[in-house]
Subunit: 296 residues, 2 copies
């Protein structure tokens, strides 16, 4: 399609531990195209992050039937995982980006902007990782999100890891028996529990996140060990959500693939308060770009 | 020094997740030299493992005042972490090793051979990782050792990870306050808890193992959260040890840097049964090489 070259084009980028989504919109907020690529957390892997960002924008340009040579004309807004830490942020700010402008914030912030269509509020992300934010103007109150190894309880990766961990220790009769062992053996088409360990050894968070549903499947079949894991994970997420609600945000939403799955196990006050997200995080990134472009 | 070229020289190699030790002995078991290098777990990183093995043997030759050109004359026995899994073992067996002979088994097996001076028995390793074995002839009964992420409860890396995890969640007031937070902030000379996360993000197991003593230090100061972590870790290790003792091994020993630290918190029966190790794991690797050399 052809575009009016006097009007700016915006691209919103949402980059997380598993994938990177881009959306291209015109001045009047019409969606022209979208693109999805791989992981874009610069703290985990800077090279992968920047190539995922470029690839997702290229795919969005393709999808919009726009030439890739338009990249230098785009006003980009990006919400990325890992840039809440100086080491992640510094790397991204030093990037010789290929856009006209590149406005950077956290994936958490753009998710929040998107969820509440530009107005203040709070969100909790429960996807590969888990983290929460309450935004009031310039004030960002952030909880959790300490990473796969060290935190992110109740996240997809955390649930998947518990499934693997408890299946392995139950096979050694060092923890109570659990159906999660049989489900994992079935899933990997293997007969010995050490095969699970070999498959999952040194795998990143997103591979564990793919196993989160193993816990919920076993729990549905009445597995006590799985039910206890859900209680522990959902309990942590409830405490996190309630601390966000203590900030009296205008609105509160939950985003991420595991959010609807874990919500029924969470504190009743959280269930009663949560509101639907109004827009996607990548649209939030467009709002962010627009705000900073307009601010010039 | 000069050696009698008609008599074989043996090298025993003990390779784990943090370091690789080699010892060179002559036919009459006199220790000629020792060498220590970096990590040697081929399942984590094959290239690092083989270069650590070669380096530690070179250093042992240097220490013995033997020329490095004698490497091709050595009868090597190696006990390595990770070779209990086919992917680790296959890589090592395919290695074009620089020795006259290379006899491979697990680090667990050579630790057991060493601890009981060549006779059958059981050992539990509590170092960077945790794992147990009971050996009766060809029969190896192994428990635990599922890796930093997925298992190895009660190990140094596990204790260090709990310290970081609980310090971070307590800073967010999502778990009870703990002195481990202050100890870690002090240790890293930082003022904000997210600095702990940045320092430890994506670090391997051995870096977490260096923080294990943080838990025991806090517990000594009466920290309830730390005491609970010790109870959980030592409880798991006790269950593992008692399952090994169910096999009625001739002797039972514990090895690894954390073993003496965690033992006082373990089940009384374990404390009453544990016997001192008679030789180091690398000496066990020499026994193993000697047995398979003699078997020819």
């Amino acid at each position: 399609m052809s575009t009016n070259s006097t009007q700016p084009l915006f691209v919103g980028i949402d980059g997380g531990g598993s994938k990177c989504r881009s959306i291209i919109v015109d001045e009047s907020n019409r969606i022209l195209g979208t693109g999805v690529s791989g992981p874009a957390n610069p703290m985990n892997d800077y090279e992968t992050a920047i190539s995922s960002i470029v690839e997702s924008v290229e795919l969005a340009l393709d999808d919009a039937k726009l030439d890739r040579s338009l990249m230098p004309d785009l006003i980009a807004g990006a919400g990325l995982a890992g840039v809440n830490f100086s080491s992640g942020r510094d790397k991204m700010l030093a990037w010789s980006h290929p856009f006209a402008e590149f406005h950077l914030t956290t994936d958490l912030h753009t998710a929040c902007i998107g969820a509440h269509k530009g107005s203040d509020g709070a969100v909790m992300i429960v996807g590969t990782g888990s983290i929460g934010i309450s935004v009031k103007g310039e004030d960002h109150f952030i909880l959790g999100g300490h990473g796969f190894l060290q935190g992110d309880m109740g996240s997809g990766a955390w649930f998947g890891l518990q499934a693997v961990r408890l299946a392995l220790s139950s096979a050694d009769q060092l923890s109570p028996p659990t159906k999660m062992l049989d489900i994992l053996l079935d899933r990997f088409s293997i007969s010995h529990h050490l095969g699970i360990m070999e498959v999952m050894a040194n795998k990143p968070a997103r591979n564990f996140a793919q196993l989160a549903r193993v816990v919920f499947q076993a729990a549905e079949e009445g597995d006590e060990v799985a039910l206890q894991v859900i209680e522990e994970g959902a309990g942590y997420l409830s405490r996190l959500a309630l601390r966000l609600l203590d900030q009296s945000p205008k609105r509160f939403s939950m985003v991420g693939g595991l959010a609807p799955i874990v919500l029924p196990f969470m504190d009743k006050r959280v269930q009663q308060t949560v509101e639907t997200t109004l827009e996607e995080p990548e649209v939030g990134a467009v709002y962010f770009a627009r705000e900073h472009y307009a601010a010039k």
